[in-house]
């Protein structure tokens, strides 16, 4: 088989076929043969590009030029102009309606540029149990460069410059965390990967660990080099047996190649990683609770300060980063901080993986550049709400976040904008609700989760969350009065204000934000007020309707 120089890919999805793409193919093949290019240029039928309203679609690879609305008679120009003379056929390029500007590269088009897979770059593409495939994708090159060509400060500087922030939810600048840990005077330091993913419906980290374990191992070694740690720990919940097994395989292979262990890349840097299994308590995702659990203690948070960077695992300076954070490190080293910082918003750089769930057509994982709007994620990528229902709200940040309604859909997503809206980035869970969902029930669902998952250490977390849940229960049972609503509000703010760690400080967010945006839904349950929408008081008859 001769080497194919160029591929002409023609969409043969249903939409394009209806627009005569079969004829386009036939014409292309005939003309190529006539011009003598049949051997080195191949016409390929492809599946749907998902851009049917602009079909038929023709894409030229490797030039990555994208033609739309190609009719059979355009085949001649594509071959004579583009293939033979190397000139783009301007009139066939896609024009973005808003900009009236011609766009020819696929990733520049709104639909396609929405997803950019940095953290998930290798997932689904390589065999996670074969280190050679990871290396073939450029793996461990970053570790090699870091250990042989860069100083520790240079590595930290690069990560700082990239603007990468913690992907576990807190959003603390990763480079700064590394710098603080590096500055601690101690012979023994640790770097820990927080793989205790616990938000209901979120599985970004699991996907990375199962699909691309080496990307985390390599990044941990880079982090270890930067902060001066020779030991890493991956704290992973035991409910992730496949991820654990793939990590163990990856560790074994990396050690066999000397990419972990003594004298990495012939330098005097040595680094190895242990796995510690968690029992799946949500609170163990909090870094001090995680460290306690690693030490074999009860998994509950400590008061900070001291921060783990000062006093962490067994009292030694410890840097704790999330799986997704680590998955971004290697691309930053390989492609440079500027490249990374070119994506995203002013304060939030790069991409973020979200787990889309709830009332949405395309349930699954998406990775998008920061700054994209929720509307784009839900409607363009997620395919909108099923069954023609109306969008009501989206919960971001899992049980620690809040709801965002229609009016917030066009906010560009970053750490700050979500906080301003009373929600948070969180680890990336995104649950979509439609018009059928009752928001009081939604709040109750989340409170039940946090109430059960709270460690119990502090009074607001232990008793406060339970009492919030009980009031919500009373409300949905139709037994609550206005006084209960007042008490609920006061208690929610007190728990937010007074709890010891992030878990319970954020636990009331679903209540606070639903009370803010859906006050009437609360009122609808209250027995001593008239229903604001004039539907009358809560009655046993409309109970089922309201609760559904």
């Amino acid at each position: 088989m001769a080497k194919v120089r160029t591929n002409i890919m023609v969409c043969t999805g249903t939409g394009c076929l209806a627009n005569e793409s079969e004829k386009v193919i036939r014409n292309l093949e005939v003309i190529l043969k006539a011009r003598g290019y049949a051997e080195e240029v191949q016409v390929i039928k492809t599946g749907c590009f998902g851009f049917c309203e602009q079909g038929p679609i023709v894409k030229i690879e490797p030039d990555n030029v994208f033609y739309v609305r190609v009719s059979p008679k355009d085949a001649k120009d594509i071959i004579d102009e583009h293939i033979i003379k190397g000139r783009r056929v301007e009139r066939l390029l896609y024009v973005e309606p808003k900009q009236k500007e011609k766009i020819n590269r696929q990733e520049d088009m709104p639909f396609y540029k929405k997803q950019l897979r940095v953290a998930l770059r290798n997932c689904g593409l390589i065999n996670p149990e074969d280190i050679n495939e990871y290396i073939a994708r450029g793996g461990y090159e970053a570790l090699g460069r870091v250990t042989t060509e860069m100083t520790r400060d240079q590595v930290i500087e690069e990560v700082k410059k990239s603007g990468l922030r913690g992907r576990g939810g807190g959003g603390f600048p990763t480079g700064l965390k590394w710098e603080i840990t590096k500055k601690q005077e101690s012979d023994v330091k640790f770097i820990i990967c927080n793989a205790d993913e616990g938000d209901p419906g979120a599985f970004m980290d699991r996907s990375i660990l199962e699909g691309d374990p080496h990307s985390v191992l390599e990044a941990m070694a880079i982090g270890g080099y930067a902060i001066g740690a020779d030991k890493g720990i991956i704290y992973i919940r035991a409910e992730y047996p496949l991820a654990i097994s793939r990590l163990n395989t990856a560790l074994k292979q990396a050690r066999e190649l000397g990419l972990l262990g003594k004298n990495i890349f012939g330098t005097n840097f040595s680094f190895d990683i242990d796995l510690k299994y968690g029992a799946g308590a949500f609170v163990c995702g909090e870094e001090t609770a995680l460290i306690n659990s690693c030490e074999g203690k009860r998994g509950e948070p400590n008061y900070k300060p001291p921060y783990p960077a000062e006093e962490g695992y067994w009292g030694h300076p410890t840097c704790v980063n999330n799986v997704e954070t680590f998955a971004n490190i290697t691309p930053i080293i390989m492609r440079g901080a500027e490249w990374f910082a070119s994506m995203g918003t002013e304060k939030s750089k790069g991409t973020k993986v979200f787990a889309l769930a709830g009332k949405i057509n395309n349930v699954g994982l998406v990775e998008v550049p920061m700054g994209i709007t929720l509307r784009e994620i839900i409607f363009d990528i997620g395919g909108g709400i099923p069954n023609g229902k109306k969008f009501k709200a989206v919960q971001t940040g899992g049980p620690s976040g809040g709801v965002i309604t229609e009016e917030g859909l066009d906010t560009p997503i970053d750490y700050e904008s979500l906080l301003e809206r009373g929600s948070m980035m969180g680890s990336g869970g995104m649950i979509v609700m439609d018009e059928d969902d009752n928001m009081v029930n939604i709040a109750k669902f989340y409170l039940e989760f946090t109430m059960d998952e709270a460690c119990g250490r502090c009074v607001p977390g232990r008793i406060g969350t339970r009492r919030i849940f009980e009031i919500l229960q009373k409300i949905t049972d139709g037994k609550a009065t206005m006084a209960d609503l007042d008490a609920l509000k006061q208690l929610a703010y007190m728990v937010k204000d007074s709890s010891l760690c992030g878990l319970c400080q954020t636990a009331p967010n679903p209540v606070i934000s639903t009370m803010k945006y859906f006050w009437d839904e609360y009122l609808a349950f209250i027995k001593d007020v008239d229903h604001p929408r004039g539907e009358g008081k809560y009655t046993a008859e409309n109970k089922a309707e309201i609760k559904s």
Binding site: T12, E61, Y112, R121, P128, Y140, E210, G211, G364, V366
Partner: protein, 130 residues
């Protein structure tokens, strides 16, 4: 063998480059066809293991020795698990969704043997890798 220099690492990379190139954009020589099956927890739960077994059985039965089945991680398309990517050298890789056990025969027959993707199962992929 241990890697002691970047050059040694790059050598390994060169050796295996063809494999991943084929998957990224179909740009590879030879006639080695690959079937990637998303084998994360979610995919397995949706039946990916049965799908893989079926591929292996069928390919053996058909004596298609040049086709390799590779378990990979997931692409996050939970709504369409199990997902399967078929890579034919010189062709843009094709990703299929909802490939339950009973869909395998059709893919082997039409795409792998016949060179024609199974339109109905094709998943439009809307992401890019850097």
């Amino acid at each position: 063998m241990t890697v002691k220099t970047l050059d040694e690492l790059r050598k390994i990379r060169e050796e295996h480059l063809d494999r991943v190139r084929l998957r990224e954009d179909g740009e590879a020589a030879g006639d080695k066809i690959e079937v990637l099956v998303g084998m994360s927890t979610c995919g397995i739960a949706a039946g990916a293991r049965e799908t893989v077994n079926r591929f292996v059985d069928l390919l053996a039965k058909e004596r298609l020795d040049s086709v390799k089945v590779v378990p990979v991680g997931c692409i996050g398309y939970c709504h369409s698990e199990p997902t399967v990517q078929v890579n034919v050298p010189g062709q843009k890789p094709v990703i299929y969704g909802n490939v339950k056990e009973n869909k395998v025969q059709e893919i082997v027959e039409k795409h792998i043997k016949g060179g024609k993707p199974v339109e109905a199962l094709i998943l439009h992929v809307d992401f890019k890798r850097p």
